[in-house]
Symmetry: C2
């Protein structure tokens, strides 16, 4: 865990950083309650070590788009359709996080009554880490599912047009003494940010990551940045690229088509700049006690997770992880030691604080 | 499509082949109704071109296990727990297909009333293709999900113990004029049968498919057959192997742990021979009209699927497929021309017919 705490990082207090994010968003016209939810979700990402989805995006993804009118600070959020087991919400082109969290909470209420509920949000924007919303189910002895479509970076198997986002899928399942199983993954092999990191370091890509603009696989990060990401499983079908492509398209259907939102080639390309309100989300929750006593289930979850963690390691490996475990341990560590924020991000936040006249005082001392 | 119809294959009539499978299973003590369901599911696999899950397994997976007492021909199937939105069934160590199909049908009834339903089956056996059960949702304007755990062949990321089955996940979503979206995939990169084919042909494996018994990646199929399959995404984490591992474990949790059935290292290894009643299944269904008018949804599904199919092809590629399309076209073709059955399988069925005194007369003429 300690590897992230280098001189490239400075440490923030969790409450101070959340408070800062909230204040900044309030300055941009967002209500205190909505701003608090965004702060909670962004800092949760940084605590979990998912820097790419944390406060690093505060200015570029959220504040700038609120200030230049591309996103609505106080959106008119509407329930479009509702049954005892389903919910469709229009986010009114507001921040994704508040409507996503409230929709998942309403689904948990519904599932608490009915046993199961599915929901979607349309006309939304980037909502942070999908896992946050799936994990809301954990305290209710439910299994949670969350997903979102996204700006397009990826190509389908046998194709070269950019049609698919990184379209993450997240599942959260509680255990007893073990950390919960939290699987939260992009359906492309790697995120676009990885190509940018490799370009900066002038490192070759792995096979299976990206194609050039003509649809040939490429190991050159500069070329790949003008091409497209490959789906999980890589190029062609030999290593299962069609499976990752299928999962990416599944996410776009469950989010975009099912919600009546934007989908397929209506979603923004990176070159489009932000297209307001084009993003959709999908959620589900169901009660474990529809199947078994939740306490017995969670005891068995411990047995299941331990069977994997205690199994024989491959040469050179010290641990076998289960999904969500690394992020859980990072959260514990970062809560104790401070939330690591990359100095470039830190400096950006300081600049933003100056522009908005917001106090900048969340350093862990 | 025509590539499968070579001299290595003989052609059966669909009705004749189904009738043969049903008669064979009845001879093994299975009721006519159950035998008819198994015949339907197995021949559906052959029609879809999924030979590995079709009549090729009739003797080895089903009839032999019924005849030697490892599986129960007329099982005592019990509803263990039931709510308006959930269902847990114990298959009584019978054939997987009949209880799986009836459970999914009961979930479709529940979802028809409640909007959404989740279910699981425990104490079951191999149920054929997962996609068959997910597709039962299609005619109800619902989205269907089906999954099963399975005999273990695969290792977790950073591990070398064999802990994971090929654990398939299937999703079926209706469209209007386009074939339905049917994603049905193993969460390992390749099935074990692929290693066997490569061993026979003395061909090198791809990187990302398998490890040896010590946990090193191997390209030697003979060595791999004594090792383990890798999860979708391959060896280690660089190409997303942890994602495929997470999906495989997710399936084992949803099937084995949620049902109170066998899970983790309780599942059979190939070297164990069949362990009766250790397999569990998971299903879900929900109504599209909880979100949108189903007709409008299906029109948009056509737009979505066409956006992918009509997009620019990579060099050397003539078509971009969406999930389930190849299998749909094979079904149409095979319904017209006859169901292709490999001569080795054909001869095995003829031998079985002789042993059981069952007429062998389903050749397409």
């Amino acid at each position: 865990m300690a590897d992230v705490i280098t001189s490239e990082y400075r440490l923030a207090t969790e409450t101070g950083l959340k408070s800062f994010v909230q204040t900044v968003l309030e300055k941009a016209g967002v209500t205190a309650e909505d701003a608090g939810i965004v702060a909670e979700v962004l800092v949760a990402a940084d605590l979990r070590g998912v820097e790419s989805h944390g406060v690093a995006r505060l200015e570029s993804y959220y504040v700038s788009r609120l200030r230049n009118g591309q996103m609505v600070p106080k959106p008119d959020v509407q329930t479009v359709r509702e049954t005892a087991t389903s919910l469709l919400v229009d986010a009114g082109n507001g921040l994704g996080h508040p409507t996503a969290k409230r929709t998942m909470e309403r689904l948990l209420d519904k599932a608490g009554q009915s046993g199961a509920a599915f929901g979607a949000v349309r006309s939304s924007n980037h909502f942070g880490i999908a896992g946050y919303y799936a994990m809301l189910a954990l305290d209710h002895d439910m299994i949670g599912i969350a997903s979102t479509n996204s700006t397009r970076f990826g190509a389908p198997t046998f194709g070269r047009d950019i049609l698919l986002g990184t379209n993450p899928l997240a599942f959260a399942i509680p255990a007893q003494n073990e950390p919960a199983f939290v699987l939260d993954f992009a359906t492309t092999t790697v995120p676009k940010g990885k190509l940018e990191v490799y370009a900066r370091k002038e490192k070759q890509l792995n096979p299976g990551w990206a194609i050039d603009a003509n649809g040939h696989e490429t190991l050159d990060p500069q070329v790949a940045l003008h091409g497209a990401l490959l789906p999980l499983g890589g190029f062609g079908v030999d290593n299962g690229g069609h499976k990752g492509y299928g999962l990416g398209l599944l996410v776009d259907i469950l989010c975009g088509v099912l919600s009546g939102g934007a989908f397929g080639d209506e979603l923004p390309l990176p070159t489009d700049g932000p297209l307001p309100g084009k993003i959709s989300h999908f959620f589900a929750a169901f009660k474990i006690d529809g199947f078994r006593d939740p306490a017995a289930f969670k005891r068995d979850m411990d047995v299941e997770l331990r069977a994997f963690k205690d199994s024989a390691k491959a040469p050179g490996q010290e641990r076998i992880y289960v999904a969500g475990e690394i992020e859980y341990e990072k959260t514990l560590y970062n809560r104790e030691h401070g939330v690591p924020v990359h100095v470039k991000v830190w400096n950006g936040l300081e600049k933003l604080a100056g522009e908005l006249g917001v106090p900048f005082d969340f350093e862990q001392r």
